[in-house]
């Protein structure tokens, strides 16, 4: 401000005005957020009511015998089974082991997918020759129903964690890879022009510009990938082994203990939701500029 204030006070007033404008904008946003919080509370009430209505109808239909409760368990039976599972989880019973087994498969497989997806995606986007050589195969591989490989993985990797992690990797790498590639070409023309005019090296351009620009895309890919990872782990557990929430579901089904199967499914869903949430929150922290980015280009 020094030189501004000495030479042209009118312009400094302009600064203050502009800054005031930005501040007003933020205040308005805050007001909107308050408003949306209220909408959120209303939504919650509506959503809980909808759930209660559906579960109530389900309970009545099964309790009166309109639907046989051997085939479709009553919500109250599921609730009891779920409660028992929760107690086991929090007291260190068998169910905790199953929960953790699936969690480890999903998380380890997912992390390996991140390394592979980002690594291969970066190679493909950085080296045209590599892209031309192998990208068609990658697209082709994605069209293969990889779930069908689950029985083969049993032969190759046994009944332990390995075949499950392998399955997770085969299906959750792809969304990460594709999004990494899309993101790495997301930097706009003017930015690239500017960087080139400054003599930016390829390495600097990658780390200082293209990678940060790719992060929003990458995180979108991670959100898809974590859900895929959960599906992959469960399917792999169906085909062999004696641990994990997928195995619990299958075992309960074979014994016709449907409330227990439903309870395991709820646990699987909860696990996936929590993991997905972690990614979303981490994404917001890492890409702190994203929500407001529109303003930069304004």
């Amino acid at each position: 401000m020094r030189s501004g204030s000495s030479q042209s006070p009118a312009l400094v007033g302009g600064d203050a005005q502009e800054a005031g404008g930005a501040r007003r904008l933020r205040e308005q946003e805050r007001a909107e957020r308050r408003f949306s919080w209220r909408t959120g509370a209303t939504n919650l009430v509506l959503q809980v009511s909808a759930l209660v209505v559906v579960l109530g109808a389900w309970e009545i239909l099964t309790a009166t015998g309109a639907i046989h409760s051997i085939l479709v368990p009553r919500p109250s039976q599921i609730a009891v089974a779920f409660w028992e599972d929760l107690v086991e989880i929090f007291t260190g019973g068998d169910m905790l082991g199953h929960f953790n087994t699936t969690l480890i498969e999903v998380v380890v497989g997912f992390l390996a997918s991140v390394v592979l997806g980002v690594g291969i995606g970066a190679l493909l986007s950085e080296f045209q020759l590599v892209r031309r050589a192998i990208y068609p195969y990658i697209l082709g591989a994605n069209a293969v129903p990889r779930i069908a490989f689950a029985p083969l993985f049993i032969i190759w990797f046994g009944f332990d964690l390995t075949p499950k992690i392998a399955m997770v990797i085969t299906i959750s790498t792809f969304p990460i890879l594709v999004n990494t590639m899309a993101g790495l070409s997301a930097a706009d023309r003017d930015t690239l022009k500017l960087m080139r005019s400054l003599g930016t090296t390829r390495w600097q351009l990658f780390w200082k510009v293209r990678m940060p620009f790719a992060l929003p895309y990458l995180f979108a890919g991670l959100e898809t990938a974590i859900i895929f990872a959960s599906v992959g782990a469960i399917v792999a557990e169906f085909t062999g082994g004696s641990r994990g929430l997928g195995f619990v579901t299958l075992a309960a089904q074979e014994l016709f203990r449907l409330p227990e199967a439903f309870s395991a499914i709820i646990l699987i869903a909860l696990q996936a939701i929590i993991l997905h949430r972690v990614i979303v929150v981490a994404g917001r922290k890492v890409i702190f500029w994203q929500a407001d980015e529109a303003k930069v280009t304004a």
Binding site: M1, R2, S3, G4, Q7, S8, L11, V12, G14, D15, E18, A19, G21, A22, R26, D188, D190, T191, K193, L194, M195, R196, S197, L198, G199, T200, T201, Q204, L205, K208, V209, P212, F288, W289, D292, E293, K295, V296, T297, A298
Partner: protein, 259 residues
């Protein structure tokens, strides 16, 4: 540093389709410290000319030198300012200003270390009137303020030449007028050479020493109109007889557009 452009031509030869002659036989000479605007309709090769000066594309014919050296030489790097501020949203204003000193070969050795660069960045933010905003992110600043950060960034590497491609075109009328005065103040205190592309007639009269008029397809300089207004330029000059006379002369030179 002066800019010498001589017989400059650029033809794009696409793999398919017709070749496009963007520039033909452009010759211009811009003295050190001069403020020259280039005016012309879209597609007249103005941006191609700036790209050549910035070393981003090579001419098909002719030469361009800055301070006696061929453009494209790493020692000749004009500061670039675009229509959009082109700031990196994950960097604060100050970090955006010092970006040019963090890239290229051996950036820290070349620019005298981090602390020196930061100090220089802060000086430039002071110069453009944003001394107190160094820690703000681009999205916390108004459009005019963002563009000022871009100007500070262009000045970081002691650029003696500024190439500006419609830098104020995206601003609203009032901010633009303010930026004109602000930028003239910065220019008069630093006295770098400016090549300023615009399609705004008033802007070119108000800012420059000289206006080059270009016509499209192929881009050629058809007129070189000196602006006869005293410096420093003041807001009150707009609408004065002398201003109107210059404006009329420029519009006369631009006749070709409407015919």
């Amino acid at each position: 540093m002066d800019i010498e452009i001589s017989g400059l031509g650029k033809t794009y030869v696409p793999r398919r389709g017709e070749r496009i002659e963007a520039l033909r036989d452009v010759t211009a000479s811009i003295r050190s410290g001069e403020f020259v605007t280039v005016i012309g309709p879209s597609g007249c090769g103005k941006s191609t000319m700036l790209d050549i000066l910035a070393g981003l594309t090579t001419p098909s014919a002719g030469t361009a030198t800055i301070g006696g050296r061929r453009v494209g030489d790493p020692s000749v790097r004009p500061g670039l300012v675009f229509q959009r501020p082109v700031l990196l949203p994950w960097r604060t204003a100050l970090d955006n200003v010092v970006l040019p000193a963090q890239v290229g070969r051996n950036p820290s050795a070349r620019n005298g270390g981090r602390r020196k660069v930061q100090e220089r960045g802060q000086e430039l933010l002071d110069l453009v009137g944003l001394g107190a905003f160094g820690g703000k992110y681009p999205w916390e600043l108004s459009g005019g303020m963002q563009q000022r950060v871009a100007i500070a960034r262009a000045l970081l590497l002691e650029a003696r030449v500024m190439c500006m491609d419609e830098p104020f075109a995206a601003l609203d009328e009032l901010s633009r007028e303010q930026m004109h005065l602000e930028f003239l103040r910065i220019w008069s205190s630093q006295r770098f050479t400016v090549l300023f592309v615009t399609h705004n007639v008033f802007e070119s009269v108000f800012l420059s020493d000289r206006v080059l008029v270009m016509t499209p397809r192929p881009g050629r300089v058809v007129a070189d109109v000196p602006i006869d207004l005293p410096r420093p330029r003041k807001r009150e000059m707009i609408g004065s007889d002398r201003f109107s006379k210059n404006l009329r002369r420029l519009r006369e030179a631009m006749r070709a557009f409407w015919e």
